[in-house]
Symmetry: none
Subunit: 200 residues, 4 copies
DNA sequence: CATGAATGAGAATTCATTCAT
DNA sequence: TATGAATGAATTCTCATTCAT
């Protein structure tokens, strides 16, 4: 019977609808502004219905967290097929920032926002964060083998690169670049990345 | 009679007590989770008492904002007497990060947190932020005159440096460095700064 | 299925319950002393529940205002089919006072109480008040045509009659007639009206 | 020693200052708007000081009540020396309305406002109100003896006259006469009184 | 006499969550 | 599955009143 499957698909669709509404609201007005009622209004269901799909408000945000990290890690993996180690490293950084540009709400949620303390289970996500960091270090090691990063410890290089892209991303996501004309932000970012390249 | 003076001192102390409790809570739990009651409990006074010293919740956060930027700018200014342009630039970055390390709660409030939209008066503070950015650019121009940053636009360099120190600071402030043993964080930061120096 | 209808009826009943509790309290204790909690206690629901039916406290009082004026105007209209102009005028006055006697709480709300300044929309209600006044003047004009009110300006007559019935009504509504035995109040009022009739 | 006297005078002056500030605020924005702090600000003393002169907020309004009735009764008495009974009666009504015009805050407080239930002692004031009513009836009796009010019971006539002047006064005090151009209010009132005179 | 500091009680309003239908 | 009704707990803020100085 496909009935079961259909039901599951419907269930999944409903969950997605809730999540995307929550993410939209979150990004529009900030975490504190998202109320269950607003999510319900957004998807045109009653408040109670949401509780059929999610245990509580926290679960919604935990799920968003998870989805964000999945999408994020997927992009990181996609980079790994680039052959040249240095090129791969650059693409890595670009992909990181591109994620922040494409999905600022997720970036905010994942790397900037304070998440309700209750959610300890996040361990799981951080694993995902850690995986990314390990990937970065791996790429640096390989770049070193190819002759780059002479005299720089792997840890130091990894931390530097991460800080750099996170700095750019969070300034972007939190609109701290209002001083700078929006049109030139992209070229500015590109410039910054190549400037950093001088240190390799 | 020093009566009047004493009273004023007491008044100032009370304001300070409220502010420091608020800052502590704010940084622990985020703006939206700090309630007047929590602040009152923290200082062991009744809620109403806070209203004798601050008009409303916003005023407390506005005041913290202001104090933070004052301290921040003071540190920036202190650097300017360093003669060598490159050295000055390095100290500039170090001072920025040092502020985040010494005053993580302020750094959070000033550069990471979403601030209540109401507070428009903040212009004043952002001016302070802008002043700092102008200072950074000035220092870069002077470093260029001394032969550094060849082939790098001032804007690009400024943005890169700012992103870098902000990245480091916010990873530190938001405890994203738990992976890394706390003892080595300092040397890691130093290493990073000198790594970036290779790009000048 | 009458389910929908029943629900709507229930909703209407709840609104009515809130309104009637509010009116009762309002008239007992005055607008400023009626709190949402008191209304809630009165109807034995939680405070929050009231907000499911009314946007805020003001809306409750605005609604009462509206209902009061509707009932009031309905009574005025009913009089208009009396043929004889003088008789009509007398009935007009009687109906006015009768409304105050039947619905002292509404009368209080509509013609005596100070109403929250916010409620500007009241225009709508005052229009209703104005309509009544216009009706009164019309009736006087017609009574004049029938030979009454000789040598008295319409405006003066209208104001006099209005003052008179309002005076009676508000003394009654605000219990200023305690001196007078309640049984004889009615005949007193009747006597007053016929006394005034001598002036026509 | 005049010391004691001076002290008492000062005390009386202070009480007066509080009372007049309270009355001013009361008339500006309504009873509920008068807070102890606002009274204190108005007289430029601290809140606590008021409690040295008045037991609590109620006492202030009770006192105002009393003063109002004293002034009111004084005016009524002043009329009594008019010889002609009818003329005296007319002056009586005029004086009543004039009081409402001169002291709308007092009139409001005394004859319209709901007073906090606590204040039961008001008996005392009502005595004053009663005295006035007795005076009115006395004047009517004397007017009857002079041939007026033929066929009208004293009670009815008294109630009618009182209702009439109270109606006028309260419409005036509560600004229900906005429809009517303020300039013509006075002549309107005069007209009304003489209109009523036709019924004597 | 005068005050400034402090507070408890209470105001309107919001919201996550539950539950009978 | 979906909902609408209901609520308790929490929020910010106000105010009459007390009291040590």
């Amino acid at each position: 019977m496909g009935t079961k499957e259909r039901k599951e698909r419907q269930k999944a669709e409903m969950r997605e609808a809730v999540l995307s509404a929550a993410l939209r609201l979150f990004s529009d007005q900030g975490y504190e502004y998202v109320t269950m009622r607003k999510i319900a209004d957004e998807i045109e269901y009653s408040v109670g219905t949401i509780y059929l799909y999610f245990k509580d408000k926290d679960e919604i945000f935990f799920e968003l967290h998870k989805l964000g990290f999945e999408e994020f890690y997927k992009r990181q993996i996609a980079i790994q097929n680039v052959k040249d180690p240095l090129q791969r490293l650059k693409e890595h950084g670009l992909a990181y920032i591109q994620f922040a540009i494409d999905q600022p709400q997720y970036y905010d949620l994942m790397f900037i926002s304070r998440i309700p303390a209750k959610t300890i289970k996040q361990k799981q996500n951080w694993t995902s964060g850690d995986r990314t960091y390990e990937l970065l270090k791996l790429n640096i090691v390989q770049a070193k083998e190819a002759g780059y990063f002479k005299g720089v410890e792997v840890e130091v290089a990894a931390f530097s690169l991460w800080s750099f892209v996170h700095g750019i991303s969070s300034l972007f996501v939190r609109d701290r670049l209002t001083t700078i004309p929006m049109e030139s932000v992209k070229s500015l970012i590109a410039g910054s990345l190549s400037f950093l390249g001088r240190a390799y």
